[in-house]
Symmetry: C2
Amino acid sequence: MSTTTSGRDDASVRQFDISMPGFPESLPADVMFEQDIIRTIGKGFQARGFRPLDSACIQRQEVLVAGGAQYLDGGIPEFAFTVQEPPESYTGANFALRYDLTVPVSRFIAEHSGKLSFPLHVYQINKVWRAEQMPTATHWREFYQCDVDVIGQGELSLLYDAEIANALVGAFRNIGVDGFTVRISNRKVLAALLDSHGVRVHRARAIVQILDKGNRQPVEETVTQLAASGIPEHVAADLGRLVSSPTLSDARDLLKLRGADQVGIEELDTVIRAAHDLGVPEDHLVLDFSITRGHDYYTGTVFETFATGREHWGAIGAGGRYQDLLKHVNGSSYPGVGMSVGLARLMGLLREDGVRKQQGLRHEAVTVVRREDDDAQAVTGTVRRLREAGLSVQAVFDPVGAEKALSIATEAEVGFLVSLQDAGTATVRDMASGAERGVPVDGVADAIAELRRAD
Amino acid sequence: MSTTTSGRDDASVRQFDISMPGFPESLPADVMFEQDIIRTIGKGFQARGFRPLDSACIQRQEVLVAGGAQYLDGGIPEFAFTVQEPPESYTGANFALRYDLTVPVSRFIAEHSGKLSFPLHVYQINKVWRAEQMPTATHWREFYQCDVDVIGQGELSLLYDAEIANALVGAFRNIGVDGFTVRISNRKVLAALLDSHGVRVHRARAIVQILDKGNRQPVEETVTQLAASGIPEHVAADLGRLVSSPTLSDARDLLKLRGADQVGIEELDTVIRAAHDLGVPEDHLVLDFSITRGHDYYTGTVFETFATGREHWGAIGAGGRYQDLLKHVNGSSYPGVGMSVGLARLMGLLREDGVRKQQGLRHEAVTVVRREDDDAQAVTGTVRRLREAGLSVQAVFDPVGAEKALSIATEAEVGFLVSLQDAGTATVRDMASGAERGVPVDGVADAIAELRRAD
């Protein structure tokens, strides 16, 4: 459609920019890899009784605003893409594209709560849209999010917080990611300590923002920044002591000393024990009081997941308990706990680790080409027989030369390349070893079976 | 979020319509079913060497217009949703949501042709958006399309037309749909007959529209309508004779009689033979000269798929050969052949057939509940052991009564319900038979294994 490189001046050819920075469209091999990852994560969640949601991409602006009312200042957020209907079918509604998966869940519950069975175990792996000004390798304008949540009606046991951590750990391990930790804290601990000093946590965004960097800088730096932001020095020192507490009992001692409420500590204790009982390895779930999460809607447990040694990538998963996010739905309280994985970051990590490359050849997959424009039945018959033998077969029907055949099979990452010659013979190439053998056309399936056994 | 039914007048509760007619959001069990179907179709395509694309949902308006230039009168179509960036991140581009999956493919090829290996075997199962004025059970504003295409560079063998029919037949059979036919024709046959009478087919939209209803009405009615629309009677009679030709040789005789070109007949002969050679059953691919497809971009083979006895549902799949759709990309010719399945119609058929219901209980799946707020370790330990035994386990941690437990397990369609009592005992219920047995907590996995063997 663009002729900026072709140089033709055909009047029917339009000249315009087709680039779409921030809206990734990958080559098929990369899409297959990404869909494999999505499928693996979904299977892991389903094995824990979570079931998929598929929320509408287009939502009413009022729903997006109301669903986010707990953490937005009101109004449609500045990063939202709005959607216009054509005049012919104007319904009077104001639409926008969803920018997260949490708010559409609240709309779904508002409409269907009578038909839903609580606690609702749900996950969603779907695209969201954000109008980033400068898209980068980890900030896209269109990207997948992956949310897993348990939402209750009225009450919701703390054991679900452990189950969410467990679901995430399971999903990552199924993918083959092992060098990661889920860092856990509880906002009630921070709130209690601040409360003992007469500071309310939800009035203290600056504090949260400074603490949020706590795991990436020395604690002294955190204390200095807190004091510089106007926090009394003794409070800053206490916050420094809290975020550097290595164990629950250290934090408990500090809170006792200040006469502060212990409920956050007890909740953390319950959640961490239950996570271990559910099978989360001890080194995959680590206490870290510097984890606070920016969003105000978290009310208890908070999680962030980092790849070991690559903390500079930022969190590849984050979430927590939100007691009140959906409280206005139908006059009922819907406490929830969940985590969200940024799939783009996760894919980036996997690519850095060469996981994509390790996948390599698909040994059940074959490309069949023909060298000359010979009998159509020879090629369709071979394709059919190989498929009937259970192989995944890509059929290339236009006659191709040896070099082109090899490049097609390489790009398709198949285990075997079958080239049909004239006179009823075929060459079978083992793509891994490069070994080739000539066989009669009706012996191709057997030859591949033999090579697969030898691999 | 809506309190139209709750009657509260809390000032913080917003009053507005949350309904989204035409934007379906299904209950989790229906989403699981739909995703199973999508996965099955995708697996079938991958087994034939097709690989997934995942095109951007947001596209430039110029791309949508240019990609559709062959079949649109120009300009953004009247059913397109346009997308606005917020002022803060305005890039100057004009965006709209994709309304089909074909046009994004052309953009993708335009950008990446140097990195792609032709013939490109691709499929896409993704959402598209159309601003229907009156959404109905089969006309949504947001819905999945499912496209499978082979796109060549310069040349593209007719055998791919057979491979596309084969891929569709395979996908439908994998799903369990058997009562359907792919009806096939070739627009060159119609063009040749019209040409012999001095009528050009692409000037004859009215003819195509009348013929397109041909398989749902008696041929006499079609001839009458053609004559009424101003077609000379002898031409209308010939068209009637063509659309009611039961075999290729009948159509060949007619074209010979008029001295018309036979190439369309020869192409059909090649494609139908090759489809049978590839394994398409004879009764699943049926010659039907009334199939013409509305879009002008089809240049040869055309397909429509109907459910037997439910032709009134309309085509559940349609497509064909488009020689020129992408001809302006980088100055190269990219002939293609493909089909598109309307997933909403397919799902509707499956629901009508009760296929969803037949799926029934998942015998590898278990819901674990606890009756009283007893020891957390008893429940987490049971959940863990069952998962380690390979079962998919939904854990319900808030204490629930017997009735609620049953409704949760029923809704989740699990094979077994485990209720933990106090004093280390559990009740295992076989959801299929309703039989229950009491066992010690650490005997639950064995009890389920035994019941599964007995099922």
